[in-house]
Symmetry: C2
Subunit: 340 residues, 2 copies
């Protein structure tokens, strides 16, 4: 069976996604001009809205349980009320994502993001710190307003883990990390927020607790596949697709999967280690990337992605006949095959 494409997924959930979009715009038009000015380009840069979309798909699966006896906390709820909760969830997920981008640009001292001046570059470090705080706080206020016992706690925990992941990454700069360390880091940095998106979508859709947890686990595998693909694309994408020079991560000292596979490679290892140790990494990069191609490092990286995709698919097996599950598969395949 052909899996659903990403544009098809969008079209399918366009109505609620548009409500998310409208509410995001209206929240950001808040009382301080910088709040809007600093965020509107992030909002309109054509982000994929991956987290809200995943939450909506997960909610669809949850709903198929809510229509039955033994559904979750939100079974039997009026459709408008369910939609309202899902819009708040989608908005808060996107706000957290935006906040993390604004703060990441401070941490990385980045002047450009996708070809545009960052908040930090345009208004300074202090304003970027505070704007990120405003976005985080707004996200938590938005999710708290749902009134779900767990939602705010799960989201706050994901934000905490995300910040820990980032701080670990900061300590790992130019360090030849192990595969285990790397996977643990991207789990915290990326996968747990995506897992929370899926889990909370399922919960608010009306899934019973075991299904909520299962879909959360699916989200975790999808999140790992997402970051693994991101880290691979940094080496093999085109500059146009990436919006930044190829090998940018390694040039900045970030050791991701392809680099640590190169470090483990008997032939490439010493060369890769030297490139890190000297910190003249950027200079040595083009040559190193060419040799990584030769040694099959990027196929090996793709195999990692495939492993997480397989785990994600496996998680869905018991849900196979449920409404919406084909869309979860669709988003998983988009995540693994995307080129940008």
């Amino acid at each position: 069976m052909r899996t659903v494409s990403f544009p098809e997924l969008y079209a399918m959930f366009a109505e609620t996604l548009n409500l998310v979009e409208d509410r995001l715009e209206s929240l950001l038009e808040g009382d301080h001009p910088l709040f809007f000015e600093g965020t509107v380009h992030l909002l309109r840069a054509g982000g994929k809205r991956l987290r809200p979309l995943l939450a909506l798909i997960a909610a669809r699966v949850g709903e198929s349980f809510a229509r039955e006896r033994g559904g979750g906390a939100y079974s039997g709820e009026a459709p408008e009320e369910r939609e309202r909760r899902l819009v708040h969830l989608g908005v808060s997920l996107e706000l957290v994502h935006m906040a993390s981008l604004v703060h990441d640009d401070v941490v990385d001292a980045a002047d450009l993001r996708r070809g545009r001046a960052t908040v930090r570059a345009r208004w300074g470090e202090g304003a970027a710190v505070l704007l990120g705080d405003m976005l985080f706080a707004k996200a938590l206020e938005e999710i708290s307003s749902i009134g779900d016992r767990l939602a705010a706690e799960v989201l706050a925990r994901a934000v905490y883990e995300m910040s820990v992941g980032e701080i670990v990454q900061l300590g790992d700069l130019y360090r030849p990390v192990t595969c285990r360390e790397y996977l643990r880091r991207i789990r915290r940095k990326t996968a747990l927020l995506i897992a929370a998106s899926a889990r909370l979508g399922a919960r608010l859709g009306g899934a019973p607790p075991d299904v909520e947890r299962r879909i959360g686990r699916f989200g975790y595998y999808a999140g790992m596949a997402f970051q693994l693909t991101d880290d691979l694309l940094d080496f093999v994408g085109t500059e146009e697709e990436l919006g930044k020079p190829r090998g940018h991560d390694l040039a900045q000292g970030h050791v991701t999967l392809p680099t640590l596979l190169a470090l483990r490679d008997p032939v490439l290892g010493p060369e890769a280690l030297a490139a890190l140790r000297t910190r003249r990494t950027a200079e040595l990069l083009p040559d190193l990337v060419a040799r990584m191609h030769e040694r099959g490092i990027f196929e090996e990286s793709r195999a990692f992605v495939a492993r997480y995709v397989a785990k994600g698919e496996e998680t869905l097996v018991p849900l196979r006949d449920r409404d919406g599950v084909a869309y979860l598969e669709g988003i998983l395949h988009f995540i693994a095959r995307r080129k940008y």
Copy 2:
């Protein structure tokens, strides 16, 4: 009647405050070493724990209602359960306060806080941004775990307002703001979090909605008095008490109440304005402060504090015979009369 002193207040609530302290320490001993290393000096620097203390006092007043018919949501609750909620509240308030200090030091590019190297100075800007994020997120997770419908929303809103207040302050640097602008700014920067502390304490203690709101309003007046006093002490405190040079705010371009009163003064106005406009403020400071003394600027500032104290007291009138109200008065007077 003599009002209760601050040490007496502490002693009175020592048992629960110690639980707050223990839980703070154990949370900060979290999984990343920087989380503890970066926060432990903030924790042990002998902060006043003003917000948790205020929340506990407000809860005491709330409890006196919970023992009656028509109490709030938490009447009839077991004492251990009430204490658990209050500990979570106290911890989350203190974590928010700590997070804001860590981020403020990034915004102000400060190397020292109370004589110690800031997180920013010791581990860099990026680590300080992320550590502050971890603290904010932990605070929101902690308050969400209470499971109160409003608590997380009110706290997240206070964090949002605090960040807006800070960003407004950033835009107001060296600007001759009006009194109205100044009051609005400190309301957001400081008073709303203190108001939230009082309100949520009352709520979790068991106050009915109207009392919860009244005590929140009291907290707002107390918070305004707190920041007004802070801004006054910056001019009239001793360097030893302040842990920073006198007039530090103005030297950094922060226009607070004494400065804006000087700007309004027919004699001092032109001189004060020139000091701001040239941005040679630090240089001109000792002379300006001496002239502000002569012109009675600091007495005028004290009159503002007194006005908010009077409003706070007035708010308490309908609660006069309630258990704990004398302690609210005690904390209000401490706030207004403190020297550090």
